[in-house]
């Protein structure tokens, strides 16, 4: 199964945007994480933007960056949103409210608590009516999102926008899930074409023949291990460096996703 990568979006501390981060990811500039300003997510109408959660703004921001690079009309593109815990900030507020005697839940907060909130807001912002999935596979949510996206592209022969995101989990929920830094990445995947930034071939392998691919830079490797969405870093780093590389992502305890990456030098 082979797909082309038509656009990339990225947002994390020290990685503000795909184009701005390529040299860092390729290893030619040092990685220096600084706090990320609230993402613009310019696509959102201002009234929706005001009400939106951090997750929504991060997810839509990278989605918009990837789709702009592809030149595709967002209304023609299906989406897959992959996140381990989804709206953890909203869930924290909800559970605090539900622990109080009155339990007065805000209706807006409630409809923002679903795992497909970012998917819904993307639809509102773009008026896209194509299929959209939101999924989770704990630490392997990015790999599961890739699996869903690549099978969709290959079976339907249509483009898919994959958006992977997990934000820092607020206290006290962070005691249960210590994700300390936000990370969002988007990949526009489509049948390979002349305009592909790179192509990749996917296969499933038994686990533990080789370790999942890591990163050379210890600070970046720490980010990869801390945030499920940052499991996308080895792939992004290979694309940025223009390397032909086989990237192994773990998929649960039993399998690995092997991505044979082929950079397109055009």
């Amino acid at each position: 199964m082979k797909v082309g990568i038509q656009g990339i979006g990225l947002l994390a501390a020290g990685l503000e945007g795909w184009c701005a981060s390529r040299a860092v990811l390729a290893g030619t500039e040092p990685f220096g994480p600084v706090a990320v300003p609230d993402p613009e997510a310019a696509l959102l109408p201002s009234n929706e933007r005001r009400r939106s959660s951090d997750c929504v703004r991060w997810a839509l921001h990278v989605a918009q960056e990837a789709i702009a690079q592809s030149g595709l009309d967002p209304r023609e593109v299906s989406t897959v949103f992959a996140s381990s815990g989804g709206e953890t900030g909203v869930l924290d507020t909800l559970c605090r409210t539900l622990a109080m005697p009155e339990r007065v839940v805000s209706p807006t907060l409630f409809h923002q608590s679903v795992h497909n909130t970012a998917s819904g807001y993307w639809g509102i912002a773009t008026t896209c009516q194509q299929s959209s999935t939101a999924l989770s596979c704990y630490d392997d949510s990015f790999a599961a999102g890739l699996l869903e996206s690549i099978t969709f592209v290959c079976v339907e022969q249509r483009p898919v926008l994959l958006v992977a995101y997990d934000l820092a989990v607020p206290a006290p929920l962070s005691e249960a899930r210590p994700i300390t830094t936000g990370f969002a990445a988007a990949l526009l995947l489509a049948p390979p074409s002349d305009s592909s930034l790179a192509t990749m071939q996917l296969r499933l392998d038994e686990a533990h023949q080789d370790e999942p691919t890591g990163l050379v830079d210890p600070a970046l490797e720490q980010v990869r291990q801390n945030n499920p969405a940052a499991r996308s870093l080895p792939l992004l780093s290979a694309i940025a460096a223009g390397r032909s590389q086989s990237i192994r992502l773990s998929l649960l305890d039993s399998q690995q996703l092997v991505l044979d990456l082929d950079p397109c030098r055009n």
């Binding site: 795992h115 639809g123 999935t133 006290p172």
Partner: protein, 405 residues
Amino acid sequence: MLPNVQPMTPLTLTASTLVTATGRGLGPVLQALRERRSGLKPCDFEDVTLKTYIGRIEGLEDFSLGNELERFDCRNNRLAWLGLQQDGFMVAVAEAKQRYGAHRVAVVMGTSTSGILETEHAYQARDLAGSLPAWYTSRYRYTHNMFSLGHFVRACLGLRGPAMVVSTACSSSAKVFATADRLLRAGLCDAAIVGGVDSLCLTTLYGFSALQLLSASPCRPCDEDRDGLSLGEAAGFALLEPSTYVSRRGAVALLGYGESTDGYHMSHPHPEGAGAIRAIRDALDRAGLQPSDIDYVNLHGTATRVNDAVEDKAVSSIFGRTTPCSSTKGWTGHTLGAAGITEALISVLCLKHGFLPGTLNCERIDPTLRSWILRANDVRPVRRILSNIFGFGGNNCSLILGTLQ
């Protein structure tokens, strides 16, 4: 213009199982449908004082998961476990595992709130410093995290193939059929366990109450005086195999599906049902069928004012008034992320037993609805059924199930 959907190879439902407030297992669920016996009762969940009816599954409070499953113990996974024990499902999965190998069987589950009830309890049990109790923090991964259900089902069944949890609010466990079809067609597995589990929690009870969408009486889909939904809980599972492997005349199969979004609003459907129409049309195209080929439509039919009106617009624009339609939420309540599998498996019962459930609690059909709404049960041969599920975030999925000819 990008291509439309292509016809699919039917996927046989080799085995299935369902637990709802009306019964444990497909037999009791069928009996309740035939006897028109609802599972909805006045809300008695924990200390909730909301004036509403719920489809609570009795007994979930009375046992816990032990031994190697102890870390997964929470209401949602207890319900999943209860579902897996019914209808000889575990045996059928063991046989499939024997046939294909544990690595070649995928697990695709749907849920909207997973084990959030554990987190709600943990927040109530915070200490003076605001920290969560240790019994909770070490088990978050296995209980509340969105993948917990997939992890649990995979562990129970001893499967080692690809797995994920789809969580798109109410459409979650309808969309699992689509994801499983893609994994099968891509050759990444030979069979798939699809299903969904959602269980009662404070988040959905107080959340739907805040949206003023809960009825104070048992929900009345399509009734002119309908005033909201009733929440329920359910667990359902099906073993899917390509009909090219296991083709049997009369076997029930997934013939088509359609997925779409409204691109309109988080909690209001598109006023013209544009997303719903797209999902239904794609399902028909994938099944290679015309609207006239469909013998019955199982409506999403939540009994909110808006859902039933908009769904009727969409359904009647495609089927006119010639195809019988009904909602079965008067029996089960709205089981949210489990609604897709619940209503798919109710559709399987209709196909196998040649009967249609009339909309329970619908006393006077809303005269503004243009579809043919069934009020009474009907006995007749049924070959193909469309099941609609629409959810928050404007996320829609329609399934077509039928008997292989």
